[in-house]
Amino acid sequence: MFDLEKDIRNWKKSLSRSQNIEDSDIAELESHLRDEIDQLTEQGFDMETAFNEATKRSASLENLNKEYEKLRTSSNRNLFWHPSKFLPPLVWNYIKISLRKIKVQKGFSIINISGLAVGLSACILILLWVQDELSYDTFHKNKNQIYRIITEDQSGNTIFTQAGSPAPLGQAMLDSIPEVLSSVRVQSGWSGWYLHLKDQNYMTEHLAAVDPDFFKIFNFPFIKGDPETALKNKYSIVLTEKLAHKIFGDEDPMGKTLTLNDDDMTITGIIKNLPDNSHLHFSYAFPAEHMRQWRESKLDSWTYTQFATYVFLRRDADINQINKKMMSLVSQHIPPQLKGKFLLYLQPLQKIHLHSTEINTWMLAYPNKGNITYIYIFSLTALCILLLACVNFMNLSTAQYSTRAREVGMRKVVGARKADIIRQFLGESFILTFMSLLIAVLVAELFLPVFNTLTGKNISLIHSGSWTIFLGLAVLGIVSSLAAGSYPAFFLSAFHPAQVIKKRGGSGKSRGGVMRKVFVVLQFTFTIGLIILTTIIYKQLHYMSSKPLGYKTDNIIMFAGYNQYETDYFGTKADLLQNPNILAVCRGFPPPAGTWGTTNVNWEGKDPNLEVKVAEGRCSPDYLKVFGMELTEGRFFSWDFSGDDQNWVLNETAVSAMGIKDPVGKWFSLNGRKGTIIGILKDFHGESLHNPIAPIAMHMSEGFHIIIKFRSNSIKTLLPYLEEKWGKYVSSTVPFRYEFIDERIETWYRTEKRIGQIFQYFTYLTLFIAALGLFGLAAFMAEQRTKEIGIRKVLGARISSILFLMTKYFAKWVLAANIIAWPIAYILARKWLSGFAYRIDLGWDIFVLSAAAALLIAVLTVSYQSFRAATANPVKSLRYE
């Protein structure tokens, strides 16, 4: 059965394959064909013959193609590298058509691409950061079988969680639990040990004191030496290649000797430099046994928890079982008063980096402890930014409907099915997205140095050459183009030819207007939320850095009081005070002057059921001269009172926690050291404002650091002077290391400062994207309303009233965004602030100002287009018809 329509469809299809014939041309040729067929049938031919005859008379495909080709100026088709030679013609066709459409819509395309590129580059950077954080410690082969023992100490009035565990526990577990294949004790990451070779010392290098099985459990690849045996000998030491090169240059270090603290150690191995994503951080490793004599580490005591213990378990090990067995082992060996107060559990290696924020890890010092919460927050942010950029894309694409509608109608007339049109639009968004992706990668690469500084990492993008990254980028591109392109594709392909060709231009309600409004509100909600949060972060930071701590922090320097500073404190102190720039000298620990607390405290009139944890502080009488804390009662220590070295000074919090009335004169003892309370200090912030002030009891002792208050602006001459004194009193070979108290305090909020900066960037980003979207929308709306505005002008409306009209339209939605953003931001801010014992109030001013800022930006963005529309010549806009 001859089917005319079907044959015509096939005929059109074959035409559409040609690269040079456009859809409108096909429509015209079809029209011609049908006229021809009509004429032939009138002359008496039947349909089939008429069709065949007509198509015969009509040109062959090649001719048509050639003729139409002459129209196009395609002089560069003969270049050998031209893509049309490599790609299948259909793909190249799509690309060409898409590029042409993009060129025609230059303004919109540029806005679209910029918004998407910016969003994608932020996404890329964030995802790279997340990937890096998740990669910590993944380079160990046994990573799924390694666990760290965590100890929860419930003996005080707060729970103290730490990564240290009883020193003999590892061996005990090895002996009695079959699933435990190996165990090591580790201390790592800190420096200051006296490592030297002849007269060169390496005190700044980071150590690792470990049991011999360390390199069997952890995978630090050996360049020289055998991981199985490297630390077997007590006097062996393993170096990283960087340290080996530093000490020995190009010589082979194996078998050579280094002196560590007076002991000669033989180098038995060189390992590759540690990767950045390792929570263990060291440049040399030696057997932990040495700590017995060097630090009097009680490696056989069940109450000595200054080492971290890692265990290597069998694959099928049941963690719960092992936890239970571990607990029972501990209960058997610890002193009875501590039974039940210690809770131990295993922490998997992979969780260490991100899930240890509440765990004290001082014995494994490493700078960049991560936090799983931030991973969630930033991943979510990356998603939101991507969504924002996609929403922008959708908004701008659907806004172009008036210009694309005719084209869609045309294609449908020619016979394109909805699926074809959808495919075309998806293809266009695909190309736009990939162009944006390319730009985004370049932008991200450009920003990497700044980003790395901001995050303290060493991430690389293009240079990484990693297949996973490139694959990830491709996936990102595909997902974004689908996310951004689907809605517009379906929206635009829904046009019916009739409604498109009959209508001419048009004003009034725009199609898809509701979705567009939703999108604008969404974008601005996010932006306003970010503005609010960033403001709050900065306000809190400002509050914390400007809140008086209760003591002076400027112009104070401290350094370790070794050697003669220790043995002859008075003499060295007197010598220092000769310098007119030195105002006061004291000894002790910087605020809070205490180590973690103990509940082993007693005082006159103590309620036996009351348990209080008090931190122990050490200082010398001139402490107050240096730091300027205030006394509320009694007096401070003094050299004039010989019994003062037994006495105690407490702070206000200690007094109220202990519930003593009139404390001065009563007796007090901590860890068995009994004395009289001679004074009460006004509370001061020894720790960051994250934490509430803790009870402190201070006593005199040969404290560790020499702390000096100096005259302002004298530091330039003072440093060399102090260095000279160090050389005289401590050592001429060990370098002089010092710290300023105010710098120390700065580091308390280092994380928050970083977060603040990151939020700042995010805010600018989202503001940019949202403003961009608004800009495009305003352009679209101005175009839509040209006729309306023209009429208004003719009727005498002033420019200002038209401006007002347009901005009012958008301002409504920005204000609506506020209503959604405020409660969400409030809740999030409250949550974040709850991590600080001392915080700002969330006042109305923050919210109102943020809203105003967003509104201002929106108005400015829209005003440009509004102004153009308002000043356009009404004659021109009305001339259309």
Binding site: S24, D25, A27, E28, L29, S31, H32, R34, D35, E36, R57, S58, A59, N63, L64, E67, Y68, K70, L71, V413, A498, I501, K502
Partner: protein, 112 residues
Amino acid sequence: MVSKAMVAVSTKPIILSILLNGENYGYQIIQKVKEISGGALEWSDNMLYPVLRRMEKAGLVVSRWKISEGGRLRRYYQITEEGKKELVEERRQWMKVHGALTNLWKPLPSID
């Protein structure tokens, strides 16, 4: 039949002249040309439509789509002011050539 070169050079003035009388579409133009040339000029669609595209690009004509009563979609062309000016120029040139040939061919010697 007319040579390709002559067809090519005469297309523009013929189209413009036809459109001078009013709006027209491709198929109709082809019929008209066939009619007034007495069958000597039989334009094919693969010749005409690209030319129309070119002329529209040059601004000599404008096109718009119209749906007929029977639902047939057709592309109608109109001459523009530019096109009219172009036609005047074409006519001037053709008349020059025509004049020269007329002078050469009078009186018509018997060739055939």
